[in-house]
Amino acid sequence: MSRENKIMSLREMVQNFVPDQSRIYLEGLLVNRLPMAAVHEIIRSKCHQLRIVSAPNGLAVDQLVGAGCVTEVEFYFLGFMTEQGFASMQRFRTAAETGTIRVKESMGYAIVMALRAGAYGIPFIPLPDFRGSDLLSIRTDYREIPSPYNTNDIVITVPALRPDVLLLHAHSADERGNIFLDEPWPNFTLTTAQACQKVLVTVEEIVEPGSLPVHRITIPHFLVDAIALVPYGATPTALNQRYEVHANHIAGYQDAAKTEEGFDKFLEEFILSCFNQRDFVKKIGLPPSWTRTQSSNK
């Protein structure tokens, strides 16, 4: 049975639930709501040989790869726009180009559907199309098979994804583990939580038990294994309604990550020498607070 109180420190969460060689799914998208505090704690805890499955979360993947925590990255897009232009993921690129990590190329909908299959206990799932690209020549686990219903139709199948661990940063949780994500499009996040075997969530705030009405529960407690209270847990990425992207810090990171030496210096200064996220945020300064809301968006 699940414990009634799932709140613990982020350090305990990582030590208890992220053993070496775990396959981790990173939630968030581009520069929105990445589980950055958890990523930094994984780096501090010196986790090794992690296999990452990622939404387009370039910044998190780049730092984990640069810190030597990763052996495999399964992804469909890594990179993001900033006001300085397109940011390509330089530690990831170097590792991919020199072969120090295994790269599993995929596509958006293939990963989405593989997670859906994982969530619903289906061993594999057919996709409506996708043929014509070179993906099938490098992903031998993606197959072309005749439809069992009309053998003239060929469908692509992808195997279900059941990552070991989901890392997610959210707005609120109660101690049982009910999660509220204050975003207009949380449905895919629920699918990832259903697909992953352990669901680890850092949150901005812990709310009173029973204070989240059912329509504000994005992920129900019985899917959640551990909660850690980490204000600014997505910084330097943004969190809807709370804070903006910490653009200066990201620009500084992009600059540092151009070289291994630069990255190592960054790692020491902003991750290893910080005790926790609070320390990190103190060092880089608070991100700009959320100024645009749905109603006052100019």
């Binding site: 998208l29 581009l30 520069v31 929105n32 387009p56 370039g58 992804f75 469909y76 897009f77 890594l78 990179g79 993001f80 726009m81 900033t82 006001e83 397109f86 390509s88 993921m89 990831f92 690129r93 991919a96 180009e97 020199t98 072969g99 790269v103 190329e105 995929s106 596509m107 958006g108 909908y109 989405v112 559907m113 859906r116 996709l127 409506p128 199309d129 996708f130 043929r131 014509g132 690209s133 070179d134 993906l135 490098i138 139709d153 060929i154 975003e183 207009p184 499009w185 949380p186 449905n187 895919f188 699918t191 943004a238 809807n240 309604q241 992207v245 645009r292 749905q294 968006n297 100019k298």
Partner: protein
């Protein structure tokens, strides 16, 4: 005559390719500026869809990513990735999709994955994202990228997203529901696709660019019709609206000609 940059020209060409009432799937950068420009000019009923989940967005502030919550402002729906890529895109409910490319071949097949060998790539690129999904299933594709001869290759290092594959009938044979690439917009010219061969054909050259220059800056045999028109210059109305959409020059640049 208005002054304009080649980046502004690209955004306006992108806008002109969108028709009123169409459902448009746009990625961040120039494509989304083009789609937004179309919506504030000749295509007020265009519906802009972002992979991140928002549909029929009315955002006033420019979005920095397809998951930017600026896009929630007065959107008609916020339905998430499964629905945008699945229900809308794969379900054949999108009229036009915008894509970029690091390499393109003469059939409009594109590479956004890597340059060199897969096992030891010279350049690891960002990857497909929703690119393959869009290229497979959108009604038609508009490709936008800056012109560089090294991008127009005879053979791709990797085919990320299908164009017209190996010519007429090849998309249909694989059951791809989308119509494939219809237009290529660069900072030098526009290209479309010859209906008989499905190969890239020069459509117009931007003012100040010669047909010879374009021909020398592609690495395959480009179809060049007898008469190649000059792309019409952007109007003041379109340029003004463009700057209202991107007042800080995030995508348009800071005004370099």
């Amino acid at each position: 005559m208005e002054e304009y940059t080649s980046t502004e020209m690209m955004a306006v060409c992108g806008a002109n390719a969108v028709r009123d009432g169409e459902r448009v799937f746009a990625g961040t950068g120039l494509p989304v500026l083009g789609a937004m420009l179309a919506k504030v000019t000749h295509a007020p009923n265009a519906i802009i869809i972002y992979e991140g989940g928002n549909v029929d967005t009315q955002n006033k502030d420019l979005a920095l990513s397809v998951a930017d919550s600026r896009l929630g402002y007065r959107a008609a729906a916020s339905i998430g990735l499964i629905e945008t890529l699945g229900f809308l895109m794969m379900g054949g409910r999108v009229d036009v999709g915008f894509l970029g490319a690091a390499q393109i071949d003469e059939y409009g097949n594109i590479n956004t994955s890597y340059i060199g060998d897969f096992d030891s790539p010279k350049v690891r690129l960002p990857g497909s994202g929703g690119g393959n999904d869009i290229a497979s299933s959108a009604g038609r594709i508009i490709l936008m990228f800056t012109h560089d001869a090294r991008k127009f290759v005879k053979k791709l290092d990797y085919l990320t997203s299908p164009g017209h594959l190996s010519g007429p009938g090849s998309r249909e044979k694989l059951g791809l529901i989308g119509g494939g690439p219809a237009l290529v917009v660069t900072d030098k010219c526009q290209m479309d696709f010859d209906p008989n061969t499905k190969k890239i054909r020069l459509k117009s050259v931007h003012p100040g660019v010669t047909v010879d220059w374009v021909n020398e800056n592609v690495m395959f045999d480009l179809i060049i019709p007898g008469k190649v028109p000059t792309t019409p210059e952007p109007t003041k109305e379109y340029l003004d609206k463009l700057h209202q959409l991107d007042p800080q020059g995030i995508y348009l640049g800071k005004g370099q000609k």
